[in-house]
Symmetry: C2
Subunit: 214 residues, 2 copies
DNA sequence: TAAAATCTACGGTATTTACCCTAATCAATT
DNA sequence: AATTGATTAGGGTAAATACCGTAGATTTTA
């Protein structure tokens, strides 16, 4: 088999450098290109051809989920392994629907990473040692349903989310946006329902995970 | 000069492995031990002797700031470089007061990291290419004033902060900690006063900036 | 030993959220 | 033309939070 060509996508240069140093030591793996956000990764694919993408989730400009979606929409896209900080339940199913080929926590070790890369490169799926892969479904399911996998929040909701995170009350937000504080409350409630949390702390925690604030 | 002996402290194994691979390529640097949280790092220092510690901030059990505080309280402690995800204004001053020797964003590159290590190992300070080091003061200032430099929150407050961030209500937190929900409210109020915010959103935003959650 | 900080707790009150519900308007899509 | 989704708004209520104060018990520091 040829060398597995890798693209690393992460907004932290030190992690890119680290992963690169780590993988360059491995026989059969070669890091050919890196990108610091989703958009860059997407653009790079027009120029470079790679077999496997190691994709971070939290990134500015275009996050890992958006990028994955965009890349997987094209035909003959590379395999994609998501590198995530935290395990989020329900996440794996969503990722599979998006067409992701692997999922790995950042507290995995070198061996698990290389395993994942080789396995995915050979066309199999890899979802961590913890995750039993019972489901799988057909490939078509990726495009047929659930159009808003990544986040599911509207622009307005996002706008309000940020203001909530900044510490404004519903009334203050209403004044700022020239809408009723009841409307703000409605948005707040809708977001909580969507994200399955039950207070502002949960909301903000979500916003952090997605890189919307901080 | 001898080799610079390094300890890496990070809760993500892949980052440890990456940094190790990266630094093992560098002449004059040797990673002798790693730890996955602050407590482990602290304990390891009883056994191993190192010159420079690369310390992450976000960690379970004991975070980087607590660990730094604990380590720097002992005499003849190693130099410590903080590795942080985000640049936080006001942070650097606090870190210097704590006795930290360097501060580096995780989106620094390999060269900056090795520069930082060598510079710090030789007794100088390194606070990133962006940060102009105007202040510095005398070494005594570290212990003489402001006992709660890092954050200003007590252990109990921090504990409660994390539970708030996890979405628990005052009542739930009270039940968890076997104290009255009024006491939880008092802690909450005191924290807000200390941090100059006026609701839970502000609190959590702070917790993010300081790396207490996520 | 005295002073300061920490953790605990409560009374009272105004404000804010959280959570039900309905519903009109507008834009986009089928 | 009809449906869906987004945004807007309100009625009503219970729960939770924010904010003011005080204060005892314990621990730490000076």
């Amino acid at each position: 088999m040829n060398e597995v060509k890798i693209m690393i996508v992460d907004d932290h240069q030190i992690i890119i450098d680290g992963l690169k140093a780590l993988l360059d030591d491995v026989e059969g793996i070669r890091v050919v290109i890196t990108a610091s956000n989703g958009r860059e990764a997407f653009d790079m694919l027009k120029i470079f051809s790679v077999d496997v993408i190691l994709m971070d989730i939290d990134m500015p400009v275009m996050d890992g989920l958006q990028a994955t979606k965009a890349i997987k929409e094209k035909k003959s896209s590379p395999f994609i392994i998501i590198l995530s900080m935290h395990l989020q339940k329900g996440m794996v199913e969503d990722l599979i629907k998006m067409g992701v080929d692997g999922y790995l926590l950042k507290n995995s070790d070198k061996e698990q990473l290389t395993n994942a890369i080789f396995q995915v490169a050979s066309g199999k799926k890899y979802f961590g040692p913890d995750v039993t892969l019972t489901l799988l479904g057909d490939d078509k399911s990726a495009k047929s349903k659930s159009p808003d996998i990544a986040i599911g929040l509207t622009d307005r909701e996002l706008e309000i989310m940020k203001l909530i995170a900044d510490g404004y009350t519903n009334k203050e937000i209403g004044d700022k946006l020239f809408i009723s504080h009841r409307t703000v409350d409605t948005h707040r409630t809708n977001m909580m329902k969507k994200l399955n949390v039950n207070n502002v702390a949960g909301l903000i925690n979500f916003a952090i995970r997605k890189g919307l604030i901080s």
